[in-house]
Symmetry: C2
Subunit: 318 residues, 2 copies
């Protein structure tokens, strides 16, 4: 993919700098942009630069970043929302995902943003229309939903509210391409967007199979981790089935569409059962004690770093 | 994982040697076993060894096979079912997936197999009870469903029919572990088993989103290929969500279970619409002309070979 060069004349603002916001800061700084990072919690602010240095070094170790110091020099942690937004033409908001919290920060951003700035929210499932309706610049707000952590997983879902200006959506898409992410643009809002609807559909079936005792968590996980997931690491579900029948996707649908339809009909949507969740929690904590969760997350991120490097080297990256 | 050593005193029989059966032949030969391969079509038989040599060489190029000639020396293409089964204690059947075809070959195998041999069928969704009921040795039959191609994707689903002997199931599991595959054992039959039920749930949602115009095929594919699929290449869906909330899987279910339940309720199961399939076919053939399907499958297999080597080197392989 030929990428446009990012506009380095204006800084990007990061509002909310937990794991998602910090990852975003690294995405933009890595691409050559000045980044102004704000979080209301002093402890969170204090952790941003050490985390960024460690993560940038890990990327440098596999050749995904050339100059760690140059990246770090572009990261500026600030103490106020105003300082973060100063001069920013793009603002990435990553606060806690609850409608009231998103509404409050959106109004605060709205009050100080440049009128032509674009605001992308990291919301993973709540559409922007539910928390930007009262903003004076609501035409400049949209969803820019990443996968955690955004500096290792490039996809970002762009979802316009009914009032999002086409130019704001186009601007966000261009920026995301310029900084090396993979923007996916939805035509309109839907709860969960695409990514989490696909994950949810798979999870709902996985919980049902576990609940009904067909297999344990580890065995169900293995069907993806050592099976389907290998193809999905570089091809989507449609290309996968397109290559999986002699005559392509239409041939595949003719051969197997009936089987998949019957499977869907065999299920009635229901909530994940409480008792089953409890049992799954016990099974997971036996496999991975709670004290080791953080270390396992670091393992996951190392693996994702390796996959990013592998895909880039093999021409499988976007 | 500590693996048992495979029993090299007895050959493995491959019955049906299209892409799936040929991949299986390579799996067993790579692990040190003598393999007797049979397919009723002379043209198919003639293609087995050239394909195996090319595939084994690709594995050798990334360090996944040491000695191509030694692997090739274990592959024996034979002209009759009897010759394939001669002395075999394990038989992998990979004929066309239709109940009548599976029934006929199962009866033929039944007539000449050693009474204590185990027969695994590569069926991707039809349970063994539908095509082994009339076999004298039906207690020795089960499903051993791989992902295509089996020599590059290690998972294999073992699904017992109600009459499958526990010892046959255990023997198949031990063999699969010994030859480097990742066996997943189901407690009982269900249409589509686990892997294709998970794939089907995701596909059904993907088709619905495409049908309703939320995004194009390529954008929906990108949410997996450059998003969820990166994690799923080495972690299953349950471990993924276990690491994706501060308190683990129970915490994740408390935070997001409601959202996923609402998504499921918003869908009524329906067949993939004909007109939408046709449109998807056109979109795919614009992205990848029919004449290039074979080359793209070869690209997929090279990528899978690379991922296998990457996972092995990084300690992410089973």
């Amino acid at each position: 993919m030929t990428r446009p060069a990012p506009d380095t004349a204006h800084p990007v603002a990061i509002v909310g700098a937990g794991l998602v916001g910090s990852g975003w800061a690294l995405v933009f700084a890595r691409a050559g942009l000045r980044v102004q990072v704000y979080d209301p919690v002093a402890e969170v602010r204090a952790g941003i630069l050490p985390w960024a240095r460690e993560s940038a070094s890990a990327l440098a170790a596999v050749g995904l970043i050339e100059d760690v110091e140059a990246v770090m020099a572009r990261l500026h942690v600030v103490d106020t929302l105003e300082a973060a937004l100063d001069g920013a033409t793009y603002i990435q908001e990553s606060v806690f995902e609850r409608v009231d919290v998103k509404s409050e920060i959106s109004r605060a951003i709205d009050a100080v943003m440049a009128p032509n700035a674009i605001v992308g929210s990291s919301s993973s499932g709540i559409p922007a229309s539910r928390f930007t309706q009262d903003c004076a610049h609501r035409g400049r707000f949209l969803i820019a939903h990443p996968v955690n952590p955004p500096h290792l997983v490039p996809v970002v879902e762009l979802v316009p509210a009914p009032w999002t200006e086409a130019e704001a959506l186009a601007g966000a898409r261009e920026l995301m391409q310029a900084v090396g992410q993979v923007p996916v643009t939805l035509s309109r809002e839907i709860d969960g967007f695409i990514l989490n609807r696909l994950q949810g559909a798979l999870l709902n079936e996985a919980w049902a199979l576990y609940d009904e005792g067909y297999a344990g968590l580890a065995d169900i996980d293995a069907t993806i981790a050592h099976g389907l997931g290998l193809r999905w690491a570089f091809m989507g579900p449609f290309e996968t089935i397109d290559l999986n029948a002699p005559g392509g996707i239409v041939d595949y649908a003719a051969r197997l569409g009936g089987m998949y339809h019957a499977m869907a009909q065999s299920r009635t949507p229901r909530a994940w059962p409480e008792e089953t969740i409890r049992r799954a929690g016990e099974e997971r904590r036996e496999a991975l004690p709670e004290a080791e969760l953080a270390a396992r997350r670091a393992w996951r991120d190392r693996a994702l770093t390796g996959i990013a490097a592998f895909k880039k080297a093999g021409g499988l990256a976007p």
